[in-house]
Symmetry: C2
Subunit: 356 residues, 2 copies
């Protein structure tokens, strides 16, 4: 087991990474005060809920099963969780535990942030994406019909349990989607890790436990380093959104249905790399390395045929915009990201026109 | 104008108290970055919105009118605010301004806490209750169908504008309801202020500006002192709930309709005083002073005929309970509150039986 500690002063917390962790009561117990309430993704309940429940043997707890589709990530589901908590008289000493992918983690984290103005929670992410993304940063929230993640809160977990056993049963497409975020960390801040990924992509896709554990730990460490002195997303942290502004536009246009988040981000990263090259910042050879790794991971590298207008319209509504400028995360090198709104918009439109 | 600064380190903020403040652009402008979005109570829009809008002359802003009834304090209204913000493309640099009573303040504050994971907000409370209660403490939130304030966040305002002009048009019943919270500060931590209130109740009820300003400033200062080193309500801050556990039970039982919050709290304080006396802590003479001041303020001193069982059941679900104990705020003296769950429950039931 690897333990990586996210340093946040009084709110520091450990991320436990390894095999067979869900059933280890000794990992959970120190972080639970009072009763526990598990919010579990329906799709993985049969496979992984028994392990977590056995870890909670000594603690009074209850479970709510939730759909883990992006469609249900809304205020109605928050209301459903609150209903369940109040019906069972869960009080302010309750710890919420999210068992599932990013959707369940985001919803449960937000419910924990809001329930009675805040109760503790624990993340037990069961997808690669959630393990390398939601484990660090404290972002929680739900979608609104006019945009993704429009309601939310920063709420840090007490601990994160990233059990690599849960990745063995993950559908191939979801594993690959998670790889998009892993590759992202290499691109934005860790050239050495990017090279390691180029050499270790095959064992990763073959779900080698050692390779996965290393990739998860290094991804979390990279994210934690970026987030550490920018907890509330005012500055440097924005680089974590490499590919996301383009990606959200694709997700919004396609109704969060046909594309996974990771696939949309994968395309977004390729577009960001290409645009960086167009602005004269990133050599063509580096663009190619980025696109090659994304392609080798089984991820798409080009957007759906949605048209530049739709692209730009969705991007304008993206929350990373300031006023009417579209802030973009671009690359100066593999391992070096910059945030800028200073570029010719016509150039952006031209590139999108060519693709979409 | 009195300026009272709530000391919260980096999040310290001023409360401006006095006449004609809503129209003073120079008070608002330093606290607004980007665009402004006013959420205004329908009932007072005609009277007070023009003043605030004139103060925002130089700032791009928009307004949403909301019903200010407790019934609308729910997630649907949060969703309505988010709809309006997204439709007008308000981004993360938006400042929300709440103009109205406590309901509008609570809703708007929670919307600000959640919108895009948090934007700044300003409180412009227009009722005495909101001026002495919501101005300090950072509590925001909405009700759930199974309980009051079950969803919320701690979110501090950038400044509070307590314009006493808004109290001149306040319905008598609302002014008196606000007095309940003012009296509460005397009871829990400021015996001198309690005596001042006994001597100045008549000018206060006659809406004398000097008396009102003093009462508001002193109330805010008392609340701020209690909250200062307990921002997240883990300890001493609980004394601010004097009368509230009883009060919430009355509000829940009567469906938040026939009783105002202040009236319910007024009765709650009388019950707390009486129970403190039953436990041998508070002399009968002090109980009488408390009840007399409440009665002179035109507030009720006894609960509706709801029965001890209903009372206890609602109290059990109150969020200030820990496990199965009902935590109560009681009085050792006028100006000295204590929190305890150590008392004979039979004694409590007997008292409630006698009254309800």
């Amino acid at each position: 087991m690897i333990t990586y500690t996210v340093e946040l002063g009084a709110r520091s917390y450990p991320i436990y990474i390894g095999n067979g962790l869900l059933s280890k009561g000794e990992l959970l117990e120190p972080h639970v005060r009072g009763r526990a309430f598990i919010v579990c993704a329906q799709s993985i309940a049969e496979l992984h809920l028994p392990a977590l429940q056995s870890a909670l043997r000594g603690i009074d707890h209850d479970t709510l099963l939730l759909s883990d589709s992006e469609q249900h990530k809304n205020l109605d589901t928050i209301s459903e969780i609150v209903d369940a908590l109040l019906h069972q008289r869960f009080d302010r000493e309750t710890t919420l535990i999210a068992l599932g992918g990013g959707v369940v983690g985001d919803i449960t984290g937000f419910a924990a942030a809001c329930y009675q103005r805040g109760v503790p929670f624990i993340q037990a992410p069961t997808t690669l994406l959630a393990q390398v993304d939601s484990s660090v940063g404290g972002k929680t929230g739900v979608n609104h019909r006019l945009g993704k993640n429009m309601l939310g809160a920063f709420h840090q977990p007490r601990c994160v349990i990233a059990d690599t056993d849960t990745l063995q049963s993950l559908p191939d497409r979801e594993l690959r989607s998670g790889m998009a975020e892993v590759i992202k960390y290499g691109l934005i801040c860790d050239a050495e890790f990017f090279t390691w990924l180029e050499h270790n992509l095959d064992p990763l896709l073959a779900r080698d436990v050692g390779a996965l554990s290393h990739a998860i730990a290094r991804s979390c460490a990279n994210k934690a380093q970026v987030v550490a002195d920018d907890e509330h997303e005012r500055g440097r942290r924005v680089i974590l959104n490499l590919g996301h502004t383009f990606g959200h536009a694709i997700e919004t246009e396609t109704g969060y249905q046909s594309w996974t988040h990771g696939e949309a981000v994968a395309v977004g990263m390729c577009l960001a790399a290409e645009f960086s090259n167009r602005l004269g910042w990133l050599p063509q050879q580096s663009v190619q390395r980025a696109i090659d790794l994304v392609r080798r991971a089984g991820l798409p590298t080009a957007p759906p045929p949605m048209g530049a207008d739709a692209f730009l319209q969705h991007m304008l509504r993206d929350k990373k915009t300031r006023g009417d400028n579209i802030n973009l995360v671009l690359l100066q090198d593999i391992g070096t990201a910059v945030v800028t709104h200073e570029y010719p918009i016509a150039e952006l439109r031209e590139m999108l026109d060519r693709h979409a």
